[in-house]
């Protein structure tokens, strides 16, 4: 099984008009026989979170590469925890070395860690995860935090105390909403579920597992993570935005960049385009059949 990856991020109209930098970042790479792709979204009321988002993304990428080089397996609940621990370690070191403050490090991180033997997608914050299958079916789930106060990995610094207080102090309170839909061209959108997740569960334990063998059986073609900017494109419902973002014309090279650039251009023609910064990172799974052709 082979993988191809690509990523893209773009400044939103709000930050462009306010003279602020893009606070979204995206990264994707192939390391040995593993693929990862991630997006990070800096808090717009934080400090220099454009820098924080990049530090978080690069730290996460390094943690994933190092983990795979040593462990060469991704099964079990311990792996996301291990990655989170390495994130915390790196963020703490780097932010003090660069003279940054905690407010500068407030950024979300959605990442996928995909190997021939399975993998997982880990959600630290808010955004959208989508899978497009070879059949054309698209499954998508949107994660939103109440009061627009998402979880940030940087909250580990005070053991999440401030974050928990901000959300009312009760870790059992259901503060994260997961809304899942399915799309097929012939049938349109079908609502699958809306699930409420507790504060405790939402803090670093939202993981979508891809079990060994699942890639060969279910035939996903693309797995994508998006920052919440995909839900804020003027005049475009988020579900339509996801379908359009995954409508890759050709799978070569910078396939995700081409699609996103065109999506944004079309959106700007029909309205204001992305209001918030937007990021996406995609892993393409190249089936064994295609491998022979490749």
């Amino acid at each position: 099984m082979l993988f191809a990856v690509d990523s893209y991020f773009h400044i939103g109209q709000a930050h462009l008009n306010a003279g602020k930098p893009c606070q979204d970042y995206a990264l994707a790479d192939i390391h040995e026989d593993m693929a990862f792709a991630l997006v990070s979204d800096g808090c717009s009321t934080g400090g220099q979170t454009d820098v924080g988002a990049r530090i978080l993304a690069l730290s996460t990428a390094k943690a994933i590469r190092e983990h795979w080089s040593v462990a060469h397996e991704v099964e079990g609940d311990a792996v996301p925890l291990h990655i989170a621990w390495r994130q915390k370690d790196r963020i703490a070191g780097l932010h003090s070395m660069l003279g940054l403050r905690k407010q500068d490090m407030l950024a979300t991180c959605l990442y996928q860690y995909i190997t021939p033997g399975g993998g997982f997608i880990h959600i630290q914050g808010d955004g959208v995860v989508a899978v497009k299958y070879q059949s054309g079916l698209i499954s998508m789930c949107r994660y939103d935090w109440a009061d627009n106060k998402p979880f940030y990995p940087a909250y580990t610094e005070d053991h999440f105390m401030g974050f928990i207080q901000d959300h009312g102090g009760d870790v059992r309170a259901e503060r994260l909403t997961k809304e899942c839909w399915q799309y097929y061209a012939e049938d349109g959108f079908i609502h699958l579920s809306t699930q409420k997740i507790s504060l405790g569960e939402g803090m670093g334990r939202v993981t979508i597992r891809i079990y060994p063998g699942e890639l060969e059986v279910t035939h996903p073609e693309y797995i994508a993570v998006f920052s919440d900017g995909i839900t804020q494109i003027d005049g475009l419902d988020w579900k339509d935005a996801v379908v359009q973002a995954l409508a890759f014309k050709t799978p070569e090279g910078e396939f995700a960049k081409r699609r996103m650039i065109r999506l944004i251009k079309d959106a700007q023609r029909n309205g204001k385009g992305p209001i918030d910064d937007i990021a996406c990172a995609v892993v393409r799974i190249i089936s064994s059949h295609e491998e022979g052709v490749v």
Partner: protein
């Protein structure tokens, strides 16, 4: 629809019998490309400087290979003369990545003969660019183009007309097939035809006509450099919504 085979696909210019080749999209990994066409007159009257014309073409393409934008260029090279039959155009190669072009091998010595199907050459150059550009745009690539047609004489045998060329150029913008298109007609040893070539440039809606006067090896070397710099400028203009404003109307 392109016919598929190998690394190149065969295309046809809509509404004509002109065909051309272009790299299959599976070869194209970038987000944007500048399409470049260089058309060289190899009619009988150019026999006195055929070697210099070839050297100019080689130098232009080699220079493009050194550009920081070289990975975002697709180059097509054609020769024109009535000796090539009905459409008067012989494609040395279709739109290819620079890494796939070896000028010393791909551009064999020219054998000038025949009369001048200038309008056919320009139509082939522009039409192929608009067609291929449309294919790229349809598949989410951003594309713009620049055409150079080097001639020593006026048209005397074409099937295409200036009106057909003008229509194709309009299609580039109106059909949103290319972000912008720059067309440069270069006259060498063509002082006797300056009025006709000027008129052709106007009638066909070309961007510039440049009269280089009498041919000298030095001038053709300069032409090679001009082509390369203009390609670089047009490539840097991609994404701005319009053509480069840095392409000189003189060499």
């Amino acid at each position: 629809m392109p016919q598929i085979g190998g690394e190149m696909a065969q295309f046809q210019i809509a509404g004509s019998n002109f065909t051309f080749q272009g790299a299959r999209l599976t070869r194209l990994g970038a987000t944007e490309y500048t399409l470049v066409t260089i058309a060289v007159d190899v009619t009988g009257s150019t026999s006195g400087f055929a070697k210099e014309l070839r050297d100019m073409l080689i130098a232009a393409v080699e220079s493009c290979k050194k550009s920081p934008r070289s990975d975002n260029l697709l180059v097509r090279a054609i020769l024109f003369s009535t000796s090539f039959g009905r459409n008067g155009v012989s494609e040395l190669h279709g739109f290819k990545l620079l890494s796939d072009i070896d000028p010393q091998v791909d551009y064999q010595a020219f054998s000038p003969q025949g009369n001048t199907p200038l309008f056919d050459a320009v139509y082939s150059a522009v039409g192929a660019m608009v067609e291929y550009g449309g294919e790229l745009t349809k598949n989410d690539y951003l594309a713009n183009g620049i055409v150079f047609v080097v001639t020593d004489g006026d048209d005397n045998r074409s099937l295409a007309t200036p009106g057909m060329i003008r229509t194709k150029i309009k299609q580039a913008a109106q059909g949103e097939k290319l972000e912008s298109l720059v067309t440069v007609l270069v006259g060498i040893n063509a002082m006797l035809y300056q009025r006709e070539l000027d008129a052709f440039c106007q009638d066909a809606g070309l961007t510039h006509y440049i009269d280089m006067g009498e041919v000298t090896p030095g001038k053709l070397a300069k032409l090679g450099g001009f082509i390369s710099r203009s390609v670089s400028s047009q490539s840097q203009a991609i994404g701005t919504g319009g053509p480069s404003k840095n392409i000189a109307a003189t060499i």
